[in-house]
């Protein structure tokens, strides 16, 4: 019950019914009053006019006939219209119409309709005769008017009741029209709340405000659904990238396992090479001192052949391990690789060349093949060594991080490797060509001229850049910038 009262329809109905309950009696009373007054006014007006007319006519009746005819005159008036009582008083003499149905009134006359509640309206007029005045008294029947009033009141009551009924029915219909879209919106909202977010909120309604409301709600729903879909797709993307990350991690682990196997295989191959060397040499030596056709020679040849097979097998293993090592890019920091290359460079450099490592701090991780970077370092150092071979000098190696605008204009971080020498330097014309293949300033037989072009190729393939600053007699400085590996790929630990 409470639910019905609290519902929109219930409220609307209750309000309309309350208005009807309060207004209908007021309306009835008001209309009845108007009807009563109207009828009374009409009655009073007509009886006043009529009695005045009667009085005037009586005045005009000739004197000689008056006394004799007064009875007939009164009867004439009494049989027409509403007159139910007629009497002429002349002093103590009274003439009364024979058709008068009412007794003589006790006193005076009426001035208001339905006065004295005697169902009659009495009027008295002085009628002037020749020498004196007589009084004409007329009584008018009020009952027909009273009946008319009662009938009119019944009609008013019926009309008011009909009005109340119709307005109630209309209120029910209207409340339904108003409530239906609201109820539908509520149902749709419930479904959306249950997760059926594609439920449309648009409602057809003849009420403009309802249409507008549902339109706005639908607009809002689409916005929200769009937002949630965007969020969901973002979540999916994140899950996908998480999956990608896991896949990368898995592949990295796999690769490292393979690399470990490769390293082990490489190490074993090295040992095998050491072992194979005396086997080959001794068996060949023995073969030399043996008669070529003897059974011993044949046995020794088999040893040599087996050793050759073993050598080719080891080479294959080495090739495999190298491929394992270099077939995929690794994420690594420069310092360990540079330190390794530096050990080689230190071995090469003569005493008149000083090697300065300006602090060998570690760099941000880069992506690529450490072996190739190793080659870059060695080649750059050899280049420096050639520039300083005659006069000696100082080779400075520096590692660090740099930052400058990338292709997109955004600041990007780079790992930096710098190799500087105090050698003879270069002419600008030479500098233009140093990265060209087979370009060399060295004497014939000193070098292939491939070194710097190989460096350039490797650095470019790693997505980095190389710059050179130099002037004749003032040395040269090579700066290699390598892009920092994306954070997604975890830095690979160096294979021990």
């Amino acid at each position: 019950m409470e639910r019905v009262i609290n519902s929109l329809r219930g409220r609307l109905l209750a309000v309309v019914l309350l208005i009807n309950a309060a207004l209908a009696p007021l309306l009835y009373l008001g209309l009845s009053r108007i009807v009563e007054e109207g009828y009374a006014d009409l009655f009073v007006n007509s009886v006043r006019s009529y009695s005045r007319m009667v009085a005037d006519q009586l005045e005009a009746v000739p004197s000689q006939d008056f006394a004799a005819r007064s009875q007939d005159v009164l009867d004439d008036f009494a049989v027409s219209g509403l007159v139910v009582f007629a009497q002429i008083e002349d002093g103590t003499k009274r003439v009364r119409s024979a058709v008068s149905q009412l007794p003589a009134p006790g006193r005076g006359e009426d001035f208001h309709f339905h006065e004295h509640s005697d169902q009659a309206y009495y009027i008295s007029h002085s009628v002037k005769r020749d020498d004196h005045e007589v009084v004409l008294r007329l009584g008018f029947d009020e009952t027909p008017t009273l009946e008319q009033i009662a009938a009119a009141k019944r009609r008013v009551l019926a009309a008011v009741l009909a009005f109340a009924l119709v307005s109630t029915v209309l209120a029910i219909a209207l409340s339904r029209v108003i409530a239906r879209p609201v109820v539908r919106l509520r149902e749709a909202a419930k479904r959306i709340a249950r997760g059926e977010v594609s439920t449309e909120l648009l409602q057809h309604s003849s009420i403009a405000e309802m249409r507008e409301l549902s339109h706005h709600l639908e607009h809002m729903r689409r916005e929200l659904v769009g937002t949630s879909e965007r969020l969901q797709s973002e979540i999916r993307e994140r899950e996908a990238s998480e999956g990608k990350r896991l896949e990368l991690e898995r592949r990295l682990q796999h690769r490292e396992r393979i690399a470990t196997i490769g390293t082990l295989a490489g190490g074993m191959a090295h040992e095998f090479n050491n072992i194979m060397t005396p086997i080959l040499l001794y068996s060949q030596l023995a073969l030399n001192g043996t008669a070529q056709n003897g059974a011993l020679a044949s046995d020794l040849k088999r040893i040599v052949a087996a050793a050759h097979r073993a050598r080719s097998l080891v080479n294959r293993i080495l090739t495999f391990s190298r491929e394992m090592d270099s077939q995929e890019a690794r994420v690594f920091t420069l310092a360990p690789t540079v330190a390794e290359a530096l050990a080689l460079v230190r071995a090469i450099m003569p005493a008149n060349i000083e090697i300065v490592v300006d602090p060998l701090e570690d760099t941000p991780p880069v992506s690529g093949d450490p072996g190739q970077l190793h080659q870059v370092v060695v080649n750059l150092c050899l280049n420096a060594y050639h520039a300083m071979r005659v006069a000696g000098g100082r080779l400075t190696l520096r590692l660090g991080a740099a930052e400058h605008a990338g292709k997109g204009g955004a600041r990007e971080r780079y790992a930096m490797l710098q190799v500087a020498d105090t050698g003879h330097g270069m002419e600008p014309a030479v500098m233009q060509h140093i990265f060209d293949p087979f370009f060399t300033t060295r004497e014939v037989g000193e070098g292939t001229g491939l070194g710097l072009s190989v460096v350039h190729g490797i650095v470019t393939s790693m997505g980095g850049s190389i710059q050179v600053e130099s002037a004749p007699g003032r040395g040269a400085r090579f700066t290699v910038l390598l892009p920092v590996a994306t954070a997604l790929e975890p830095a690979a630990t160096d294979v021990a």
Partner: protein, 132 residues
């Protein structure tokens, strides 16, 4: 009679090389590390030094570098084990090997042999470095 000093930390390898060269009529002294090799060379400079590159303490490259300055006439045949130098010793690495070969050439080794090599390859390399 040409004189040859063989330096290899692997005694088996050094001995085998000595046996082959002696068999071919060379005068051979074999030692197991670079310092000993250097002492032998200082004692009586040979015509040819056959040296391993990767050895503990002083490695072959350093030895070759010293020879280049102090005994420029001595010919050097370097023997590569296919490994690399430095921190990650014995880590086979294609580029390192190339770099290593380049380095050995830079410091002045005339010949490079990769283990395991045939007797004939060794003898051919030796004969190429002899004056006549």
């Amino acid at each position: 009679m040409a004189s040859i000093v063989v330096v290899d930390d692997e005694a088996d390898v050094g001995d085998a090389i000595r046996r082959v060269l002696e068999h071919s009529g060379f005068e051979v002294r074999a030692v197991n590390d670079a310092e000993a090799g250097l002492r032998a060379i200082e004692e009586r400079p040979p015509d040819i030094v056959v040296t391993d590159v990767i050895m503990p303490r002083m490695n072959g490259l350093e030895l070759v570098k010293i020879l280049r300055t102090r005994f420029p006439r001595v010919r050097v045949i370097a023997i590569s084990g296919g490994g690399s130098l430095g921190i990650q010793t014995y880590k086979p690495d294609a580029i390192s090997t190339h770099a290593y070969l380049a380095a050995v050439r830079e410091v002045g080794a005339q010949e490079i042999l990769t283990k395991p090599f045939d007797m004939d390859e060794l003898l051919a390399a030796v004969r190429r470095q002899l004056p006549n």
